[in-house]
């Protein structure tokens, strides 16, 4: 419940927030101590005008960057999850229902994907992609790529769960009944099995979102994410660590860290709650 409320809050923040806060790219050099490139004042320069303080070096408003960063984090996390769920459910249901060589093929493919050194691959892939491709350019292309890379490699997790569920469901009487009155593969798959899978799919999707948000932050952290000056939580963390700001201005690391923590916790709590509600046995 708390998780749900937090999610609603985060989503509202991501949608409405960017129109309310200041421009996240505006420099405020006057708020920075030139000798130490650290914000003036305690707690990373927290003031009425800048409730979360300002960035070291640039003096950009932290609240604005966190809020706009939330938009990208949630968008990428959500879209990547949708992609993973669509692919995962499709292949999982087919593998589970038909069994035999189809199952072997798909299950082994899932194993390959799970064993893939994903991070290395993602870094290499995003590193070689040019500035513009497929009619997209700049950050639009980056968002698209991040969604693809994250989502495409996350589907086996969903696929395995769905396959497992289908393996037991397909032996149940209602499936036999559907088959006996002449139901064919596609009908049984999507009209008989799928509705019974909604609960686990929903639960695991919710749990996949925070994983994907974290992965997006990790890619940003490694410098293969969004293009600066677009705000991103992962890049703020990365900047704080590689530039040594965690010592000089700890708030610069704490605030994006907290943002990631809250977002991940919200989805996890929500997912757990959902599982408890939909599956009374785990209570």
């Amino acid at each position: 419940m708390a998780g749900g409320m937090l999610i609603v809050f985060l989503v509202l923040m991501a949608i409405i927030g960017p129109h309310v806060v200041q421009n996240p790219d505006t420099y405020n050099s006057n708020l920075i101590n030139p000798t130490f490139s650290r914000p003036n004042g305690p707690w990373g320069g927290i003031s009425l005008a800048h409730p979360l303080g300002v960035e070291p070096v640039t003096g950009r408003d932290m609240l604005a960057r966190i809020v706009v960063g939330a938009q990208y984090s949630l968008l990428i996390g959500f879209l990547a999850t949708v992609l993973a769920v669509v692919i995962g459910v499709f292949f999982g249901i087919i593998a589970g229902y038909f069994g035999g060589w189809v199952d072997v093929l798909i299950a082994r493919a899932m194993d390959v994907f799970l064993a893939f050194p994903l991070l290395v691959f993602a870094i290499a892939l995003i590193g070689v992609i040019p500035d513009s491709a497929w009619g997209l350019s700049g950050n639009t292309l980056r968002v698209f790529l991040l969604v693809f890379v994250i989502g495409f490699f996350a589907w086996p997790y969903m696929g395995r769960i769905v396959r497992g569920q289908v393996l037991s469901l397909r032996e149940r009487e209602f499936v036999d009944a559907a088959r006996s009155i002449g139901g064919r593969g596609p009908y049984i798959l999507f009209h008989e099995l799928l509705p019974n899978l909604v609960a686990p799919i929903l639960v695991y999707s919710t749990l996949l979102i925070p994983t994907n948000i974290l992965f997006e932050a990790a890619l940003d952290y490694l410098g293969v994410g969004l293009i600066p000056p677009t705000p991103s939580w992962g890049q703020m963390l990365s900047n704080a660590v590689t530039n040594g700001f965690y010592y000089i201005d700890p708030m610069y690391m704490v605030i994006p860290g907290l943002a990631i923590f809250i977002a991940v916790m919200a989805f996890n709590l929500f997912g757990d709650g959902l599982r408890d509600a939909l599956d009374p046995r785990t209570r």
């Binding site: 500035d131 000056p229 590689t242 530039n243």
Partner: protein, 592 residues
């Protein structure tokens, strides 16, 4: 003119590679109540930049260095790290070396194992060096001219010794020589462009006149190597010493211990001293750990010489009692942005001048790490520690460090783009400081309507595939390209040639990224290589080139790189050698 092209690019790559550590260390500072304590409040701060700190001739003690990483090699013929060049003076003396003294004096050459600087023939093609008599290796065997020749020969084989500079290969008359490891000639002395008429004379035969050749033989590569003791790639484990110290033990990439060389006399290299009885260097030590142990007095000098990390920096700059043991040294590096003359609308000089005026130099300085660990605001191409530097300020970088927006707007109008224009900017996305600098330049130029699109690239291929490829630059409208530059020797030629000479524009690995082909500049370079020129006449040309390049507005100087160095108070004879931009390791001692 000879173009040490591959070479100089390697130089750039390695030297900038070196500063990565500096880039990764950051800017920073203490708690808020000490924000007003500035280094100016202490008179002893940076005493080692202008004078010798703790002069002493006391003998004995152990001098301890520590290094965050490892050397590329301790072999004097196989290193391109400037700190190893500095450190190698302890055990390898080249023909010519640098005067051991603080300030601009430390940029001047002095004889090493040679009796004097080189004598050049009238046609500028033959350089002759005479060796001092009575020189010995650490084992007592005499040093002969053939050992110097052999030392140069072995640097030709890049499959065995891949790291060092390749000036000899590009400058000398025998470029296809394979190196002694594949040499089939008798005595392994097959390099025809270095001759040894007698045991005390070495002659270098050049393809074309090269007035800066003395600087080339001042590289550690001319330190003599006895052919029968050369072990190829393993020579780094025990280079045979001609300096005040010799290797006692070296556990590869862990720790090396050097002891006094009994066969060394001050006559061998008057620019080095033999004070401490032992020199220890610890490798692969965590950078923050080095800083803490420096301040605790457990380590004497950080060998890497790129300055302390952010944490120690904040501690030092806010504490006067620590500040007096630190020095704010110019590194000899310029951090800047190329402005490409072939990318519209920057083909018009007024549009380029608009960028020069509109940039916020203070923000740039903050982005590079602030005034102490980042650098001083720059207004010329040549940094102050290069021979030929002359202070000028054509775009008011020093008087109006936040930018002159009115001037920028009138230049924009003169260029026919009164509302600004859109241009791409290339930077290395794995360099945190460069990322900050790129964003700050973007924000500053937006103030006059110049819309900058950022394009980040990996630093490994930045000069080969992206900013260094004119085709790529043109296709992607990369009118502004961030860069950093340091020279292998501290004169105007070494710094400016690859950067601004029109004949250095190359299809890949381009270092003249602004694609400047200004006949005025080119003529001055041609003039400077005339062998009949005196040194003073040659030196007078560099500021003229600098000013002409600035007039062309193809380089936006940002900062002259600086690093904050810390020395253990027990170290004696310590000062910053301007050539290295770090402490002179050859003369240090320790007081007990």
């Amino acid at each position: 003119m000879t173009k040490p092209r591959k070479l100089a690019i390697a130089a750039c790559a390695v030297l900038t590679g070196l500063t990565l550590a500096a880039c990764a260390s950051a800017s920073g500072s203490g708690s808020s109540n000490t924000a007003d304590v500035g280094p100016n409040s202490n008179v002893s701060f940076s005493a080692g930049v202008t004078g010798v700190v703790n002069p002493s001739s006391a003998q004995g003690g152990t001098l301890t260095f520590a290094e965050n990483s490892t050397p590329d090699s301790f072999d004097p013929g196989n290193t391109y790290y400037s700190w190893v060049w500095d450190f190698s003076r302890l055990y390898a003396t080249p023909l010519v070396t640098y005067k051991s003294c603080p300030g601009s004096c430390g940029l001047q050459l002095a004889p090493g194992i040679a009796t004097g600087l080189g004598q050049v023939s009238d046609n500028g093609l033959v350089w002759t060096y005479h060796l001092k008599h009575g020189l010995k290796f650490e084992d007592g065997t005499p040093v002969s001219a053939e050992d110097v020749k052999y030392a140069v020969e072995r640097t030709y084989d890049k499959s065995v010794l891949p790291n060092g500079p390749t000036y000899f290969q590009t400058l000398l008359a025998d470029p296809s020589y394979p190196g002694p490891y594949q040499d089939r000639s008798k005595n392994l002395m097959g390099l025809t462009s270095v001759t040894t008429p007698d045991p005390y004379t070495v002659q270098f035969h050049l393809q074309q006149p090269f007035p800066d050749f003395n600087y080339v033989v001042a590289l550690p590569q001319t330190a003599p190597v006895p052919p029968d003791r050369d072990t190829g790639a393993n020579y780094q484990l025990h280079p045979i010493s001609t300096g005040p110290y010799m290797f006692q033990s070296y556990q590869l990439n862990s720790q090396a211990t050097l002891v006094r060389n009994p066969n060394w006399t001050p006559n061998e290299d008057p620019e080095a001293k033999q004070l401490a009885s032992k020199v220890v260097i610890k490798l692969n030590v965590n950078a923050d750990d080095i800083d803490n142990r420096l301040m605790a007095g457990d380590i004497d000098i950080d060998a890497g010489g790129t300055g302390v990390q952010a944490a120690a920096q904040a501690e030092i700059l806010s504490n006067p009692s620590l500040m007096k043991y630190s020095d704010d040294a110019l590194t000899g590096f310029l951090w800047f942005a190329y402005i490409d003359t072939k990318v519209a609308p920057l083909t018009n000089v007024a549009c380029r001048e608009a960028i020069e005026y509109a940039a916020d130099k203070t923000d740039q300085q903050t982005a590079y790490g602030g005034p102490y660990a980042g650098g001083a605001i720059a207004s010329t191409v040549l940094p102050p520690t290069i021979i030929g530097y002359q202070k000028t300020d054509p775009y008011d970088a020093l008087t109006q460090p936040n930018g002159d927006l009115a001037a920028a707007k009138s230049e924009l109008a003169a260029c026919g783009q009164p509302n600004g224009f859109t241009v791409g900017l290339a930077y290395r996305s794995d360099r945190p400081r460069e990322v900050q600098a790129a964003q700050s330049l973007q924000a500053a130029l937006a103030r006059v309507g110049i819309d900058v699109q950022l394009h980040g690239y990996p630093s490994g291929t930045y000069y080969t595939d992206f900013a260094g490829s004119p085709d790529y630059v043109h296709q992607h409208d990369l009118g502004i390209d961030m860069g950093g530059w340091g020279a292998d020797w501290p004169d105007g030629y070494g710094f400016l040639d690859e950067l601004t000479n029109g004949n250095t524009i190359a299809p890949s690995g381009n270092t003249n990224i602004e694609e400047l082909n200004d006949p005025v500049v080119n003529r001055m370079f041609a003039k400077a290589t005339n062998p009949a020129l005196t040194e003073a006449q040659e030196t007078a040309i560099w500021p003229q080139i600098d000013q002409q390049v600035m007039k062309d507005a193809v380089i936006l100087p940002e900062v002259y790189g600086k690093s904050l160095l810390y020395r253990n108070p027990a170290v004696t004879n310590v000062y910053v050698q301007s050539y290295f931009g770090m402490y002179n390791y050859a003369v240090l001692g320790v007081s007990s």
